[in-house]
């Protein structure tokens, strides 16, 4: 520490910012908005008064009065919600809390083997390409923490042979199988409580049979490196990187390690998934904050070419016609079915007393969404079977 910094520390004398800074900032924002509305209203009144004065002058001069243009209405909200296609939130099947294999066409649901749900916090399930094994972490839908709390597990799809695959001192989460089913890539070292201390995040590859690990990429800048992890047609690891969940874009890095390259030139996406044949992206974009007295974001889903071309939005922020308040929008949740015909995503009633999630199946060819179940999707077992998690009222379903 330099002597000047010591001088500054002595000068500071331990002074700390007044408490409740964030809440005070929100109140300040509210005051600012109110004042802006008052000013806009006053301006409107002035315009009306000026218009009246002109009209009076015109009448007094015995000339026919011309209509006075009305002032623009004062906006009451900065948020212009984009309507979604109509969506009936009543699901095809209602699930009790738990994790299930759910048939996307019939709604038939079978609970996951109990061994696969026996680890507290089990979630983020990922089925191996041949459908014989499953990987998961114990971060589930809970906030991440450090200290080695979260690790990656593997088991046979019937729940037998369960074992912990990682022993990372900070955290190992979001496993994804390689196309040949021999390796798993996961995010290591991600500890959100230390996000701002530039803690490195690693993309670690582990050989499932031997447990040997290698690091494909270490992000020392920790610029919000995030999943979902996946593999591109050429076998590189696809990951997401940006800032604070905004302006992320997909990057790829060879499994053997090397220099990461951006997969799409354009920033502004939050997350996404490449279709199994590598031809189409489904991308998630955050459309902005919602100011209806509460903070929040709304996310939309788009289909694009693999190079980001021809973006077409297929979900919005409000299901206006159905009257449902889906202000937090749609989140990718399950991704592409193996045959590339369907995309699983979830919607969430954000402002209700008990936020409700629904997993929705989007038929790409028909361009139609169907609400499948309460909960959210995790991965496809086969072309028609989706793993769905319902965490109950406390978990938002």
């Amino acid at each position: 520490m330099s002597d000047v910094r010591e001088i500054l520390e002595r000068g500071l004398g331990g002074a700390a910012a007044p408490p409740d800074g964030f809440e005070r900032m929100l109140r300040r924002r509210d005051r600012k908005r109110r004042n802006q509305r008052i000013r806009a209203g006053a301006l409107g009144l002035l315009i009306v008064a000026a218009g009246l004065a002109v009209a009076v002058q015109v009448i007094r001069s015995d000339r026919p009065a011309e209509p006075t243009p009305a002032p623009e209405p004062t906006p009451t909200s900065d948020f212009d919600p984009s309507p979604s296609p109509p969506l009936d939130l009543e699901p095809l099947v209602r699930l009790d809390p738990g994790a299930y294999f759910v048939n996307a066409l019939t709604g038939e649901a079978v609970p996951l083997p109990s061994d696969l749900t026996s680890v507290p916090g089990a979630g983020n399930y990922d089925v191996s390409p041949d459908g014989s094994m499953i990987a998961f972490d114990n971060a589930g839908d809970r906030p991440l923490a450090g200290g080695g709390l979260h690790q990656v597990y593997v088991a046979n799809i019937d729940g037998t042979g369960l074992r912990r695959l990682t022993e990372h001192p900070i955290a190992a989460v979001e496993p994804a199988w390689s196309p040949d089913g021999t390796r798993i890539v996961y995010l290591a070292g991600r500890d959100p409580s230390r996000r701002w201390t530039r803690l490195p995040v690693e993309l670690t590859v582990v050989d499932v049979a031997t447990g040997a690990t290698s690091i494909a990429f270490t992000d020392r800048a920790a610029r919000d490196l995030a999943g979902p992890l996946a593999f591109t047609p050429d076998g590189s690891i696809l990951f997401w990187r940006g800032h604070l969940g905004y302006g992320r874009r997909p990057w790829t890095v060879p499994v053997s390690g090397g220099r990461p390259e951006p997969f799409l030139d354009e920033r502004g996406w939050y997350s996404g998934a490449l279709s199994p044949d590598g031809s189409t992206f489904v991308l998630q974009r955050l459309s902005g904050y919602v100011w209806h007295n509460r903070g929040g974001t709304c996310s939309e889903l788009w289909l694009t070419g693999a190079d980001g071309s021809d973006p077409t939005r297929f979900t919005g922020c409000l299901d206006a016609e159905g009257g449902h308040d889906l202000a937090s929008g749609a989140a990718l949740s399950g991704g592409w079915s193996p045959d590339g015909r369907r995309v699983a995503y979830s919607v969430r009633g954000f402002f209700s007393a008990t936020p409700a999630r629904r997993v929705v199946i989007f038929d790409v060819e028909a361009g139609r969404s169907t609400v499948l179940a309460n909960g959210y999707g995790l991965d496809w077992l086969d072309d028609e079977t989706l793993i769905v998690m319902n965490q109950g009222p406390g978990g938002g379903s």
């Binding site: 330099s2 000047v4 910094r5 001088i7 500054l8 000068g11 500071l12 004398g13 331990g14 002074a15 700390a16 910012a17 800074g21 964030f22 900032m25 924002r29 983020n124 990922d126 089925v127 390409p129 994804a176 199988w177 196309p179 959100p192 996000r195 701002w196 996946a230 047609p233 940006g242 800032h243 604070l244 969940g245 905004y246 302006g247 920033r267 997350s271 998934a273 199994p276 998630q284 955050l286 974001t297 709304c298 996310s299 937090s328 989140a331 949740s333 399950g334 991704g335 592409w336 079915s337 193996p338 699983a344 995503y345 969430r348 954000f350 999630r357 959210y376 999707g377 995790l378 991965d379």
Partner: protein, 172 residues
């Protein structure tokens, strides 16, 4: 064959908390930097709040910047300069001088250090605090201040010398 991608859900909760995480990580440091810069707790708090609020209002753009912190620091410095200008104009009109003492804060800034900092030209003071307190490199500090890194290093050198000299004089 490419394995279908499993997507973690929901993303929106994490993102909703993103700015709050940023705020809680940066607020204290920003306040302390502004306190050192201004010597006034109320002004430091006011400028820090306004700078962070402006980042919040533009978060869809600011959050995607390479350095959201840089945006906030630059905004805070601009606000501080603007505040200063208003204060100077008001002070000239009403008072003979601007009171330099912190109005009764529980942890008063050391008067010697405060006077030494206040005696520095504004540019040197800002460079010192950006580099020595906020830990920015001279390149990053140059971006915040809108000047070359070499100019930052020059200001730093002169600022450090002046600060030490003033404090040594005060000790004698």
């Amino acid at each position: 064959m490419i394995h279908p991608v499993r997507i973690t859900e929901p993303a929106s909760v994490e993102v909703q908390m993103a700015f709050e995480d940023f705020f809680r990580a940066e607020h204290e440091r920003l306040f302390q930097a502004l306190y050192l810069l201004t010597g006034d707790r109320d002004e430091a708090d006011d400028v820090a709040q306004e700078a962070l609020l402006r980042a919040y209002e533009r978060w869809d753009r600011v959050g995607s910047m390479d350095s959201p912190q840089g945006y906030v620091y630059r905004t805070a410095l601009n606000l501080h300069r603007s505040h200063r200008r208003r204060l100077v104009v008001r002070a000239r009109r009403v008072f003979a001088h601007v009171p330099a003492e912190d109005p009764g804060g529980p942890v008063a800034l050391s008067q010697d250090i405060h006077r030494a900092l206040a005696a520095l030209p504004r540019g040197q003071r800002e460079a010192l605090i950006l580099v020595e307190w906020l830990g920015l490199g001279s390149e990053d500090a140059g971006q915040v201040l809108g000047i070359e890194a070499s100019s930052v290093r020059g200001r730093l050198h002169r600022g450090r010398e002046s600060l030490r000299r003033t404090l040594e004089d005060a000790d004698e």
